[in-house]
């Protein structure tokens, strides 16, 4: 069974493509990580799924399906009904995503579209589930009275109280300290499993992916470079970008001061994407074909798909 399916999603600003035919599926209770460097199109993909794209960005192709419902041609009103109930989202900056003028309890009740007085017990229980201590006091407080980690817990409570089938979390821990990040990741993992929520977790941190994701899609410059089970992708990365990215990260286990693998150059801007493989300009394995043709995602070992003419180890 599939909770969320994204097929060949393409997005553009004017005539400039920013996301090119990306596809992925997420099953109930599964965590899929969408990982990639700044500007590769993670957040706009999430906004497209939620049908909350900024005015400047257009969907130029593709199909998004939530359970059995195709979202692409859904009227705006029906989409509004789905949001929150079937599919919910949390963001990087919890403080700014919350309404500064409404109490925690009112904001969570709002997600149930009920007055707080009617659902207070349920809201309180949700605060307990997301690990907020002293829920009876917190329920009537405002966001400014809470720390960043607590605000993110409140966001998770808002997102999950209506038991949506799909949760999209865009860098939910990037603004938080590591010890708080560990708490939030453990919480997301537990709730996804208990409630069988399908989670799309957006991050640029390979450590977060390794910690929580069942499967991963590595994005580069608006395309999926490689996707598959997290363990397989990390153990034997097949795309040259994935391999170099993993080798360029300092780890607690590496030799201090040893040279890290380097990817020459920098991530291209959408206006410079050009024809061919978008990694070709930085890729040590690139040849003439890579510059001219776009590699399609095709299967390699261990249930993986990779978009490369010359995959590592193949």
């Amino acid at each position: 069974m599939i909770a969320l399916s994204v097929r060949d999603l393409s997005l553009a600003i004017g005539r400039t493509n920013i996301v090119d035919a990306i596809s992925f599926d997420v099953a109930p209770g599964e965590v899929l990580a969408l990982v990639g460097e700044s500007g590769c199109g993670k957040s706009v993909t999430a906004q497209a799924i939620m049908r909350l794209l900024p005015a400047a960005i257009r969907q130029t192709g593709g199909e998004i399906t939530l359970g059995a419902t195709s979202l692409s041609n859904l009227p705006a009103r029906a989409m509004r009904d789905l949001r929150g109930r079937q599919i919910a989202m949390i963001f990087q900056e919890p403080q700014s995503a919350l309404d500064p003028l409404a109490t925690v309890g009112n904001q969570i009740a709002e997600a149930l579209r009920q007055p707080l007085a009617k659902v207070r017990a349920e809201v309180r229980q949700m605060l307990v589930e997301v690990g907020i201590s002293d829920p009876d006091r917190r329920i009537d407080q405002h966001p400014f009275e809470l720390s960043g980690g607590m605000c993110q817990r409140v966001m998770i409570a808002i997102a999950l109280i209506a038991r949506p089938a799909v949760l999209i979390a865009d860098e939910p821990t990037t603004a938080l300290d590591v010890t708080i990040q560990a708490q939030i990741l453990a919480l997301l993992r537990r709730l996804a499993a208990e409630r069988q929520t399908a989670v799309v977790l957006i991050t640029h941190d390979m450590g977060v992916v390794a910690d929580i994701a069942d499967r991963v899609a590595v994005m580069y410059a608006g395309r999926v470079a490689e996707t598959g089970p997290t363990a397989a992708v990390f153990a034997t990365p097949a795309h040259p970008y994935t391999a170099l990215l993993l080798a360029s990260i300092p780890r607690l286990s590496d030799v201090p001061k040893s040279a890290l693998a380097v990817i020459d150059g920098q991530v291209p801007q959408p206006a410079d994407y050009g024809a061919g493989c978008r990694f070709a300009g930085r890729c040590p394995r690139a040849d003439r074909r890579c510059v001219a043709e776009t590699p399609a995602l095709r299967p390699v070992a261990d249930g993986r798909l990779v978009a490369c003419f010359h995959p590592v180890g193949g």
């Binding site: 720390s147 300290d177 560990a182 708490q183 450590g207 390794a210 363990a231 990390f234 607690l252 920098q266």
Partner: protein
Amino acid sequence: METILEITDLCVHFPGRGGAPVRAVDGVSLHIAPGETLGLVGESGCGKSTIANAAVGLLAPTSGRVVVAGTDIVGASPRLLREVRAQVQMVFQDPITSLNPRMTIGTAIGESLLVRGRAAGAALRARVGELLQEVGLRPDHADRYPHQFSGGQRQRVVIARALALRPALLVCDEAVSALDVSVRAQILNLLVALQARYGMAMLFVSHDLAVVRHVCDRVAVMYLGQLAEIAPRDALFASPRHPYTRALIAAVPDPDPAVQRARVSVPLVGEIPSPANPPPGCRFHTRCPVAVARCAVDVPALRSVGAAMVACHLA
């Protein structure tokens, strides 16, 4: 012992919103030997940047001593400060705000040499070209403006500018935190190579433990304005003595799913208290998994345990 930076009993208190001052740094002592890299880690708001700013004289301490290359810079005359500044340079997180958008990068890099009369004209231009090459850029980049570079290239420019006077100490405050992963590796390799080549000391401030372990010789762990532990890198990571150091290391997710999932780490509970109202006793006791009654009352002194200095009653 010869030191390039010696900080003694440093306190920096800021006026707080509701009366109580923010005790951003509260009695920290540390030193850096010539050529050594000291890492400064800890969670947001623990006082890392405040220490970095005090070390370069950008901020006047509430009390304590800051001695740079033998000169006490607290209350030093502007002339003396200016001389000391030639020995200490700083690189910040955001390269775009630390460069003047209307100045070519060649002018920015050469400015300190020109102002101090170290070089001018063709010699200055040649020296700027050398500096650009040292950081992996080209001499002909000198005539470009900051907006014509990527974030990683701008950080190289900032590093070249900091190197111009051949400082004895480079203070890096989250110098790689805003960079993409693939570019961060380039800059880390550059810093390690430059340090080996010139033997300059570094105070390397970061919230990223893996990065700190990669570049530093010794590491200081801060919690709420104070040192929890300071130790040689390998001792700190192999046998962390302070419960906070242990929690911090355990919370760094390993980018290897097999390793990460085999770890049995219990996340710390609780939130970080406010530095305007730090807990009594050990400041960490409200979140400490092994705290005993005494921890809520007695302030643990920093004392030496093995190769480390640790502020914990149970260490």
